[in-house]
């Protein structure tokens, strides 16, 4: 496909594929797709492997330089708007969520990126993919459902409180 002839949609999708390609190659090159490598960092009690710190440092280093420069633009190159997280409050949900994620990460050595990359190593990675990936999706859906339920609950409570203030209830 000639980039000059591509429609805006095709260009955006090609860019998304390219970004994933580079990201996935980085995961594989750094061996973060190997849970034993990750556990070699997380497990301080054995023969400690600090590789993960260099991966995180390299990734955050280059993104830490690029992101502020990119965000000076009004719009990204191929879409109408930047879609950035808007939450700023450090709340219980953030802390509890990070805690549970760390717990799960420390058990198996998988975080979501390397878990997705298991699909590239089939059929050799089949056992781990079959056990870990469905559990990841189910956990994520439970999280979405419970977050939505608790948000709806607190919204109802806010409305109730407002109505009480006004004397309607």
């Amino acid at each position: 496909m000639n980039p000059d002839e591509a429609s805006p949609l095709e260009r955006a999708l090609l860019a998304a594929f390219g970004a994933g390609l580079v990201f996935g190659a980085g995961l594989a090159l750094s061996a973060m797709t190997h849970p034993e490598k990750v556990l070699g960092f997380l497990d301080l009690s054995g023969h400690w492997d600090p590789s993960l710190l260099l991966v995180l440092g390299g990734a955050t280093g280059i993104a830490g330089i690029a992101f502020p420069l990119i965000l000076r633009r009004k719009t990204p190159l191929l879409m109408a708007d930047f879609d950035l997280p808007s939450a700023t409050r450090i709340d219980r949900r953030l802390i509890f969520g990070a805690l549970l994620f760390g717990l799960g990460w420390g058990i198996s050595g998988y975080c979501p990126g390397p878990a997705v990359a298991l699909l590239a190593a089939l059929p050799g990675s089949g056992r781990e993919a079959l056990l870990f990936l469905p559990a990841l999706l189910i956990g994520s859906w439970i999280g979405r459902w419970s977050t939505r339920a608790s948000k709806a609950r607190s919204a109802v409570q806010r409305i109730d409180a407002n109505l009480l203030d006004r004397g309607d209830l």
């Binding site: 999708l13 090609l14 998304a16 390219g18 970004a19 580079v22 990201f23 996935g24 190659a25 980085g26 995961l27 090159l29 061996a31 973060m32 849970p35 556990l39 497990d43 009690s45 054995g46 023969h47 260099l54 995180l56 390299g58 955050t60 993104a63 990119i70 633009r73 190159l77 191929l78 879409m79 997280p85 450090i90 953030l94 969520g97 990070a98 805690l99 994620f101 760390g102 717990l103 799960g104 990460w105 420390g106 058990i107 198996s108 975080c111 979501p112 997705v116 590239a120 190593a121 056990l131 870990f132 559990a135 990841l136 999706l137 189910i138 956990g139 994520s140 439970i142 979405r144 419970s146």
Partner: protein, 147 residues
């Protein structure tokens, strides 16, 4: 047991950061894998398409290195046959639930969030690094040596 591989770790990290930067520059989206995976089944049209293509690219990029990267010492990961099945399942549930509740994982908070200087991401990253270290250290060493 794994050995320290500083060169491939740093180069791989630079690629991960470059991929995340390219996604932000071209599409204005955050390369947080837990968010991309979790939102995929609930997205429509363009929001579905870019997530699907990004994940397809991720799998392809890793696959290319597994196939042709042996000169750089890259090998495809193999299933750990003796790793308990229930631990993989419990871990998957915790990672899926925790990253959804906490709005991010190692890539979303750890790479992109820190790059945006987000205080929320800094707090999350410190917490999951510390709990990950505590969990792995206890499970893999101290519990094994219990009488």
């Amino acid at each position: 047991m794994s050995s320290f591989t500083p060169v491939s770790a740093l180069l791989g990290g630079l690629l991960i950061g470059a991929g995340a930067s390219w996604l932000l520059l071209s599409l204005g989206r955050i390369a947080g894998i837990s968010g991309v995976v979790g939102a995929l089944p609930f997205s429509r049209r363009m929001e579905f398409a870019w997530r699907a293509l990004f994940l397809l690219g991720l799998v392809t990029g890793a696959g290319l290195l597994y196939r042709y990267g042996s000169t750089f010492g890259v090998q495809a990961p193999l299933s750990r046959i003796d790793f308990p099945a229930w631990e993989l399942i419990v871990s998957g549930l915790l990672v899926g639930y925790g990253t959804t509740l906490g709005s991010g994982c190692t890539s979303g908070h750890g790479v992109c969030g820190l790059a945006r200087r987000s205080p929320r991401s800094l707090v999350a990253t410190v917490i999951f690094l510390l709990t990950g270290i505590a969990t792995a250290s206890v499970l893999r060493h101290w519990l094994e040596n219990w009488p």
